[in-house]
């Protein structure tokens, strides 16, 4: 946010050697703050009635207001205000009952008004926080503010030899700029922050979080310092549109700054761009070239005001958020914090899990979801919504394992059948004779036959008890994998006289 007055930065973190970057002169610590632009989920734009639908032909979503025709005036879209307040509540943030829209003035062909309507000194949302799970540690990242602003259009430079084209479909679409405090200390934390923010926005339904479509983009402020030392000069990396690129850009930028400082140079405060092709950041403009945006309150709009009842109404309608859901999963279903985090990354997976786990062994349900279902979905590049195995089917599989009707190993086969063929798991087990053999008589019969047929091996196992594995394997093979492994093991030891 060039032009904004420098904040007094309070360092809330204790330097953690695990995140240090090694330089020639010793360790360095990277300091990261993010400005995330999240497109508000709304049917129409922030100040006009035009559609926000992605993928329409160029300039299909343009009204007289969006095209900045003379005499056109902005009128606030109340749904965008509600979405911003919901998001603020989701970030446990201060909601400002009075906020002001300002004009940020600059010339660009895809900015038809010659100014962007944004919020400068008085944003709609103030300080809040986001919790990140980093291994066994939970860290708190401060939110400085959230404000509403208009998106710009798009300039297209590759369609004509001497002219540029402008597509105003995005012009005026509502964005939330979510500004973090400089509390992030590694590229992993930065990625975790983006991921968590996206999860929260998706839970709230206030932004779809699709980075590849540009509905979530990040400006990343990076500086380095000696661990615990004074903050360094920061550079801002503009418009990073994937989590992977965010990580790469931070790694590169931190290293670049360290190299400069270690060779006796100084960092110029500047705006940089990350190029995914080279994996490098390059200078876009220096502080001296920074625009003077001449912010002032937009006289076409009154201050945005609402009351406590408005906030309360929105708070009441909020869904359960990921942190709360995660805590509840740990508490009610006995799953590990890590599994709970994985299961609550998306609202849909949490819902799926609850459908599977309700009335069953929560841990077993979590294992089956994370290892089998997610593993398989990932392998096939499918989303949970596209899963051929629904929660009822996975629940039935968990039931069959839980009751001992099938072993875990058979369970995997069963999962495979349900995945590819569909059907009711219990019936499949019945029809295909997959039930686990726990009848000791039947197992004894198999063991006896194997012992009788292999006298040489029986001699050997007496000398070397670990050979028992061979007998168990043979017996399991004969049973078609259906013998209850515990029962088989115990009986085999008994018959062979091994302790």
């Amino acid at each position: 946010m060039p032009g904004r007055n420098a904040l007094t930065i309070i360092d809330t973190r204790t330097p953690n050697p695990k995140s240090f970057i090694q330089g020639a002169t010793g360790d360095w610590e990277v300091i990261i703050g993010m400005e995330v632009h999240a497109q508000v989920t709304s049917e129409s734009k922030l100040f006009s009635g035009s559609s926000t639908l992605f993928g329409n032909p160029p300039n299909a979503n343009v009204s007289f207001v969006d095209a900045a025709m003379p005499g056109m005036l902005p009128v606030i879209n109340e749904e965008c205000v509600r979405q911003a307040v919901r998001t603020g509540l989701g970030l446990k943030a201060q909601i400002n009952k009075r906020s002001i829209f300002d004009r940020k003035n600059y010339f660009y062909p895809d900015l038809p008004q010659g100014y962007q309507i944004s919020q400068y000194k008085d944003p709609i949302v103030g300080e809040g926080k986001v919790l990140l799970d980093m291994g066994d540690e939970t860290i708190e990242i401060g939110i400085e503010r959230l404000h509403l602003e208009q998106d710009a259009g798009k300039s297209i430079h590759d369609q004509h030899p001497s002219m540029s084209f402008v597509d105003l479909n995005r012009s005026g679409v509502a964005l939330m700029e979510i500004v973090s405090k400089p509390d992030l200390r590694s590229s992993d934390e930065a990625k975790a922050y983006l991921s968590k923010l996206r999860t929260i926005l998706r839970y709230l339904g206030t932004c779809d979080g699709n980075m590849e479509q540009g509905s979530m983009r990040a400006d990343i402020n990076v500086s380095v310092r000696k661990p615990g030392g004074a903050f360094g000069t920061r550079c801002e990396i503009k418009n990073v549109n994937s989590m992977r690129f965010a990580g790469q850009a931070i790694e590169f930028e931190a290293r670049r700054q360290i190299d400069i400082l270690e060779s006796g140079g100084t960092i110029d405060q500047e705006t940089r761009l990350y190029d995914p092709k080279t994996g490098e950041t390059r200078s876009m403009r220096s502080k001296e070239e920074a625009h003077d945006y001449r912010y002032f309150p937009d006289p076409d709009l009154l201050p945005l005001e609402f009351d406590d009842a408005f906030i309360a109404m929105l708070a009441e309608g909020l869904p359960e958020l990921p942190d709360e859901k995660k805590a509840r999963f740990v508490r009610d279903y006995g799953v590990t914090p890590y599994d709970a985090m994985v299961l609550t990354l998306e609202k849909e997976s949490g819902d799926y899990f609850e459908a599977v786990a309700k009335g069953r062994d929560g841990k077993l349900a979590a294992n089956w979801m994370i290892n089998e279902l997610f593993g398989r979905l990932n392998k096939e590049g499918k989303s949970l919504a596209e899963s051929p195995v629904d929660a009822g089917q996975l629940g039935a599989i968990v039931d069959l394992i839980g009751s001992g009707a099938i072993s875990g190993k058979i369970g995997k086969d069963l999962f495979e059948i349900v995945w590819t063929e569909g059907g009711d798991p219990a019936r499949i087990v019945d029809e295909r004779g997959m039930k686990q053999v726990t009848d000791t008589g039947a197992i004894e019969k198999i063991i006896d036959e194997i012992i009788a047929a292999n006298p040489d091996q029986v001699e050997k196992v007496k000398a070397k008890p670990t050979m028992i594995g061979w007998f168990v394997g043979q017996a399991m093979k004969v049973s078609g994998g259906k013998a209850n492994p515990q029962a088989l093991n115990a009986l085999m030891k008994q018959k062979l006289g091994i302790e």
Binding site: P70, M72, G114, V166, R294, Y295
Partner: protein, 494 residues
């Protein structure tokens, strides 16, 4: 047959309803007058005869069916600042060359809804920046009034100079105008017409080319107080498309015109008695007060202590907003485009060629006062002054004052190309000395002809009212109009 163009709106309405003449005849009379006079007065920048006749015929049909609206068949001129669908809308600027909007402003839509007929678009200072109508890309408008025995062309005032001149010279029954710092009231005073700037928020700004958004208001210029009230009633009203428009019922302003001033308290602000103010202005002011007193008003001396800061603060706030409002005229989307080697060149060349000197001056002032390091010293302080000016008025009204009487302008109309004003833009800005405070405070103000100066040129008085109390202004202005009993017919030289 009498000259139909000389009829007031009120009388023309009666004649139309009585079918003494048709709307088509009335419109034809004005079109003929425009054709004869416009080469000399330059009041219209675009005349729309076909549209006018079509609208007049539609009016006749509605009158025949007994469905006449309040302004049915009344031919109006429209300031070029108002967006009129498919019709020349250029704010009298070169940069909007060829621009015809795909929309109709809310104010003009209201007028057409009530049956009015559009004659064409009226000249004005470029982007409403000026007090003499000399900054128009289409050349200066000439005032139909001339000093006794002189053939010198005088300015009609500005920025609504085309509106004022056309109304005074019978080239329309009434005209729309806009007022950011005095652009309705000063030209009305210079041309012997009545002009009212209503309370900020009374008229929608939607579809009106913006100059300074927090100050701009539309209003009428007409030949009588009653006509202004009739137009004001139609032009006003809440508009959800303008966030600054106020959701209040619109009174029948014409019904308030003959209400009188008995029992009203009229304030006389001592700060408006300027050094070097011409004796005839002072005398006019006193005469206005005596008329109001004679009709039962109480006259009370009041103080508006921050008055002297109003003009400098205005020349910070208005250019600041204008510099941003005019950023959209960049040669990219519509209007004039001068191409260069790159986009920056295109911006610079289009804006250099498209904007006139006064517009450029104000864009530069506005850019300067908003820039980093100067914002607090200029813009923020000007806004504080604005708050103080508003408070001055609030205190006076709270103490029981109903309206305030002041001169409308420091002088009568001056000559086109006045050397002193050309040499020093601030001299030109001083024309708005009595009117800008009203815009800064968002209050209603009306200018009404009250007398003639020694050279036979009209002079006006201004009445300032409480927020949304335009009715009292119409009533008090009517008393002045009746008491003055002026013949406001400029000798026809054109």
């Amino acid at each position: 047959m009498t000259d139909l163009t000389r009829l007031s709106i009120a009388d023309a309405r009666k004649g139309l309803d009585a079918k003494t003449f048709s709307a088509r005849e009335l419109t034809d009379a004005y079109l003929a007058a425009i054709e004869a006079a416009n080469p000399a007065l330059n009041a219209y920048v675009a005349v729309t005869p076909d549209k006018a006749r079509d609208m007049a015929e539609a009016s006749d049909a509605r009158i025949a069916k007994g469905e006449a609206g309040p302004l049915e068949g009344i031919p109006l001129g429209i300031k070029d600042l108002f967006g009129t669908k498919g019709v020349h809308t250029q704010a009298a600027s070169h940069i909007l060359d060829g621009f015809k909007p795909g929309y109709e402003s809310s104010v003009t839509s209201n007028l057409w809804r009530d049956g009015a007929v559009m004659l064409g678009k009226l000249n004005m200072d470029e982007f409403a920046m000026g007090s003499s109508n000399e900054t128009s890309y289409y050349g200066p408008v000439v005032n139909p009034w001339r000093a006794k025995g002189s053939d010198t062309d005088l300015v009609p005032g500005g920025s609504s100079g085309g509106s004022a001149s056309a109304v005074a010279a019978w080239l329309c029954a009434g005209a729309t105008a806009t007022d950011t710092g005095g652009s309705i009231r000063q030209p009305a005073a210079f041309t012997g017409t009545v002009g009212i700037k209503p309370t900020y928020g009374r008229c929608s700004r939607w579809g009106v080319v913006a100059f300074a958004s927090s100050l701009d208001q539309a209003g009428p210029i007409a030949r009588t107080v009653e006509d202004a009230a009739l137009m004001m009633t139609s032009m006003s009203g809440f508009d959800p498309k303008d966030s600054t428009s106020v959701d209040l019922a619109v009174p029948d302003f014409a019904a308030a015109v003959e209400r009188g001033v008995k029992g009203l308290v009229i304030g006389v602000p001592r700060e408006y008695r300027m050094d070097g103010m011409p004796q005839e202005i002072e005398a006019l002011w006193q005469e206005g007060l005596s008329w109001l007193k004679a009709e039962g008003a109480e006259i009370r001396d009041i103080s508006l202590p921050h008055t002297k800061y109003a003009l400098p603060a205005y020349y910070i706030v208005a250019p600041a907003e204008a510099s941003s409002n005019l950023a959209r005229y960049d040669g990219v989307k519509y209007g004039l485009r001068v191409t260069g080697k790159d986009i920056t060149d295109l911006y610079e060349m289009s804006r250099a060629a498209g904007f006139g000197r006064e517009v450029k001056r104000r864009v530069m002032i506005g850019t300067y006062v908003l820039s980093a390091g100067y914002y607090d010293a200029y813009y923020v302080r000007a806004q504080k002054v604005r708050t103080l000016i508003k408070r001055d008025f609030e205190q006076v009204f709270a103490a029981g004052v109903d309206a305030i009487l002041t001169p409308a302008t420091p002088s009568a109309a001056f000559g086109i190309g006045d050397a002193a004003m050309k040499a020093d833009p601030v001299k030109m800005y001083l024309n708005d000395i009595f009117t800008v405070t009203v815009n800064m405070a968002g209050l209603p103000g009306i200018a009404v002809p009250a007398g003639m100066d020694g050279q036979g040129l009209p002079l006006g008085l201004q009445l300032i009212g409480k927020p949304f109390d335009e009715e009292t202004l119409f009533a008090a202005a009517r008393v002045i109009e009746r008491s003055a009993g002026l013949d406001l017919s400029p000798a026809k030289w054109w």
